[in-house]
Amino acid sequence: MKPFEYARAGSPSDAVRRFRPGTMYLGGGTNLVDLMRLGVARPERLVDVSRLPLDAIEPVGDRLRIGAAVRNSDLAADPLIRRRYPMLARAVLAGASGQVRNMATVAGNLLQRTRCAYFQDVSRPCNKRRPGSGCPAIEGDHSNLAVLGASDACVATHPSDLAVALAALEAEVHVTGPGGDRIIPMPGLHRLPGDAPERDTVLEPGDLITAVELPAPPPGASAYRKVRERASFAFALVSIAAVLDVRDGVVSGCRIALGSLAHAPWRAERAEQALIGGPATGEAFLEAAEAELAQARPLPRNAFKVPLARNLIVNTLEELAP
């Protein structure tokens, strides 16, 4: 591991003030420290933001504000979260292991990097890690990589479960940074790779996530489901966060976010639009899923994700329909 400086920030503004090129913010370290050991991340300076006073979950009117440094396990166990946003608690509990969740923070979870094998191996090319070096995954091991929104430069997926639920809940990500404070509505935090796969998010250098704010829960029933070949402690093959509101047999509200299909949590807007105002039937769900997945561009070894996502959308909506 490359030697680095370590400093603990006293406040969010202090953290931003300490930021210079070569600095990385340290949350729970469950991904960053791994990447440093692998030589993938080579920061000159870590500014520890894990102990900033950003660890509260508090109501703000009918909204709920989650501090960026809240640990994943505390988030999943919070009574307000469990009562008002059960899908979010399920998503968090579907991720990692108990030990990892005890360390991992909300902001760190959102900013974790792809688990693409080539990204994590400095001896092999990767456009995300070393721009312009190439993407061996396209011809090689892409079995758990993207089928939606990928580019010729990168087929990585974003691994977070939390981000998928936040995309469906239309959470707002609160950011402070050298350019001041701003709010990024989910799923807008993460970007598609295009020709700049080295950038996972729209954050600018020095930006620090301070909180995630949840609007009042959308009406209807919600679910989070994660598919994986190992029953626990595995990244999703595909995951879904869905909210369905049916009134008199007609879909009045629908939100679908999909995980592990793209470089960002994927809001299935085409499917949602196809459903809203129509009947809540299995045929309608299937048509909507197929409308969404018509955009998929699978590679030979990840083609299974398309029927898997289709089945998952249909089955999840059927379970949510009254």
Binding site: R115, A117, V227, E229, R230
Partner: protein
């Protein structure tokens, strides 16, 4: 009784190889080849040597002196030829691990790359018949006329099964600390499954007499075979220590373990079976295609269980090997039996389905009188009893054989069965028993790799001496103790235990000291077919929505001679079955066709079962008396648990879904793939 070393382990006091407090220890970190084939043109260490704390760089630019006949995987830095990506081609030595690693990163290597070939296929032009397969079985056997047997059969099956590269993943990484004393004697604290053979190999590699090398391995955090043969980290520690004149420690990373500590060869296995109208086999042919490296020939004995399992008038087994630009495969829990029985027991299930015969009954009908290939009588064989008892406990008689018809919500439910087998051998061992302070000291260079060897040897000695176990102290894990064979091939307890019994008997005769060497006793063992057998039953649930496969129930019934310690035996059986579940559903190392070497080289990518995958795993055993084995009457149990599990699960997946997945692991991607 509890494990003898249980308290020191759970309190963190047990010392593993990397943990020995050695004054002045330096650290070596390897440089690995980035090409899969070609030559190292130049190693430039100048920058690395200028870095802080760096004591030296070893490479082919100044080849360390080794025995000329050193094993190809252990002959470090002797040749400019590169055999595979990840091969150790240099190493940096420094005062700290971090400085050594930074220096290794700074070593500049110029290559002359050549085109590599890392893909195993059944039509590879380089395939050949090895002289023998591991450890020394004939590569091919043939009895009777297979083609005629198939031609006269009422039902035939001709199927090909494939298994991927698999890696042992013991919790403790491979580690060694090497120290040379003033007289030029080498001490190596090593994570090894056998102090005596490891000493011999290290000495042989360095060109030293074995008396000048000592290997200590008092606690080992798992091995499964990948610590059964000497691995390059131990040789590197010795060479680096000799070069810098200080003790040197080498601890491999998990990724390096995938590269240089062996793996189970991928296999392509073709099975041709024929049966008459009653389900009796008329022909059985098992051909296995496998790989090895260009450095060393390792030919896994994949088709050998077919020589033991079923009566067939025509029986042919064959192994074909191709030497690729890959690391050398090696031992992984039940080499041969594990992948071979996966294919054989899956094919037998296909035959049962095709013939309309219950798969338990089909196996019973093909029970042989004597070992089919050798014609030797079995010392004991209770496969049928295991099948019957397992069927009774599992509720097999209520099973509807029709595949793909049981559904609970989105979940398709099915059950499957497969047989298990593993040879029951022993090797010569020495042991010494003495009286110390009124108690008994047993010394044998055995290895306890987490199996409970120390505990079971304590029991064996106590029973022989007729004293309470707490009066017996077993000392093991040190090559200065009486020579003992490796903890491998499920032979440890049978081999070491025989010597311990004889030493204790001798001690009781003279009252002072008993010394045993079972070389002559083992040499006069009667010629018999000695194998443990078992039957495994699996229930699976397969999601029709997601293709996920879950295993709510696994049952193994084993007949393995006398079970010496119920607690330890259960751990071995269910541990093997759990590893078999991993093989069935998730374990897979990918070979990187483009760059060579392996992908998924960590535990986040190479999935082994988590607790949530292991719902109800039950292991039971039958009373089995067998006087022809050894003084304890036991058969080895370290490996049989993994044999047959993957087939039982695969057969259950077929029963649940009607789909036959013939390529491990059985993943959602394969379940959801369109039917061919």
């Amino acid at each position: 009784m509890n494990r003898v070393e249980g308290r020191v382990k759970v309190t963190g006091l047990a010392t593993y190889a990397a943990e020995y407090p050695v004054e002045g220890v330096a650290h070596a970190y390897p440089v690995q080849s980035l090409i899969a084939k070609g030559r190292v043109a130049r190693v430039d260490a100048s920058q690395a040597l200028d870095m802080p704390g760096v004591l030296g760089v070893l490479s082919v630019e100044d080849p360390p002196q080794l025995a000329p006949d050193a094993d190809g995987e252990l002959a470090l830095f002797q040749s400019r030829d590169v055999a595979y990506r990840g091969q150790l081609i240099a190493a940096a030595v420094a005062d700290t691990y971090e400085n050594a690693r930074a220096a290794a990163d700074a070593v500049r290597v110029e290559y002359e790359p050549a085109d590599h070939d890392v893909g195993l296929r059944a039509d590879h032009p380089g395939l050949y018949r090895p002289e023998v397969v591991n450890p020394n079985y004939p590569a091919d056997t043939e009895h009777g006329d297979v083609e005629a047997g198939l031609a006269e059969a009422a039902t035939t099956v001709d199927v090909t099964y494939t298994t991927p590269v698999l890696h042992n993943n013991p919790m403790e990484p491979h580690a060694a600390v090497a120290l040379w004393d003033a007289e030029g004697r080498l001490l190596v604290y090593n994570s090894t499954q056998g102090a005596s053979p490891d000493r011999d190999t290290i000495a042989g590699t360095l060109g030293l007499p074995p008396s000048r090398v000592r290997v200590v391995a008092r606690h080992v955090g798992g091995g499964f075979g990948c610590k059964g043969s000497t691995r390059p980290h131990a040789v590197l520690a010795a060479l680096a220590s000799r070069a810098v004149g200080r003790p040197v420690k080498v601890v491999l990373t998990r990724q390096q373990m995938f590269d240089v500590t062996g793996y189970r060869t991928p296999t392509i296995q073709r099975l041709r079976l024929g049966a008459d109208a009653e389900g009796r086999l008329t022909a059985l042919e098992h051909v296995a295609y496998e790989q090895s490296s260009t450095l060393v020939e390792f030919a896994e004995q994949t088709a050998t269980p077919a020589r033991t399992m079923y009566a067939a008038p025509a029986l042919r087994t064959a192994h074909r090997l191709v030497r690729l630009d890959v690391a050398t495969p090696s031992w992984m829990r039940a080499p041969g039996e594990c992948p071979g029985m996966y294919a054989l027991e899956s094919a037998l299930d296909e035959l049962a389905c095709a013939a309309g015969i219950d798969p338990v009954e089909l196996r019973v009908r093909n029970e042989p009188e004597t070992e089919p290939e050798s014609g030797l009588p079995f010392s004991s064989r209770n496969l049928v009893a295991c099948l019957r008892e397992g069927a009774r406990r599992f509720g097999w008689d209520r099973r509807d054989p029709e595949p793909g018809v049981r559904r609970e919500g989105e979940w398709l439910v099915g059950t499957g069965v497969a047989a298990s087998t593993y040879p029951a051998r022993r090797r010569p061992s020495q042991a010494v028993a003495t009286v110390r302070n009124g108690d008994f000291l047993i010394q044998v260079a055995a290895a306890d790799i987490g199996t409970g060897a120390r505990t079971v040897l304590t029991r064996i000695a106590a029973e022989t001496l007729g004293v309470a176990p707490d009066r017996v102290h077993v000392e093991l894990g040190d090559s200065d103790l009486p020579d003992a064979p490796v903890a491998g091939g499920s032979m440890g307890t049978a081999s070491w235990g025989s010597a311990v019994v004889r030493a204790c008997e001798e001690l009781m005769k003279n009252g002072k000291e008993g010394r045993a060497d079972t070389t002559d006793e083992v040499a006069t063992d009667a010629e018999l077919a000695r194998h443990a057998f078992g039957a495994q039953f699996a229930e699976v649930r397969v999601s029709a929505v997601t293709g996920e496969v879950r295993v709510p129930r696994l049952l193994g019934v084993f007949a393995a001679g006398r079970i010496l310690d119920a607690g330890l035996a259960r751990s071995q059986f269910i541990g093997g079955m759990t590893m078999g579940l991993g093989m069935a559903l998730m374990e897979e190392t990918l070979t990187d066709e483009e760059f060579g070497g392996f992908l998924r080289r960590d535990l986040a990518q190479y999935h082994v079962p988590a607790c949530a995958d292991v719902a109800d795993v039950e292991a039971v055993w039958l009373e089995e008396e067998d006087d022809a084995l050894n003084p304890m009457g036991n058969k080895g149990i370290g490996e049989i648990g993994i044999v047959g599990t993957a087939a039982a699960i695969g057969n259950a997946v077929h029963h649940a879904t009607g789909r036959r997945i013939r390529d491990l692991p059985i993943t959602p991607a394969k379940i959801l793939a369109p039917s061919p």
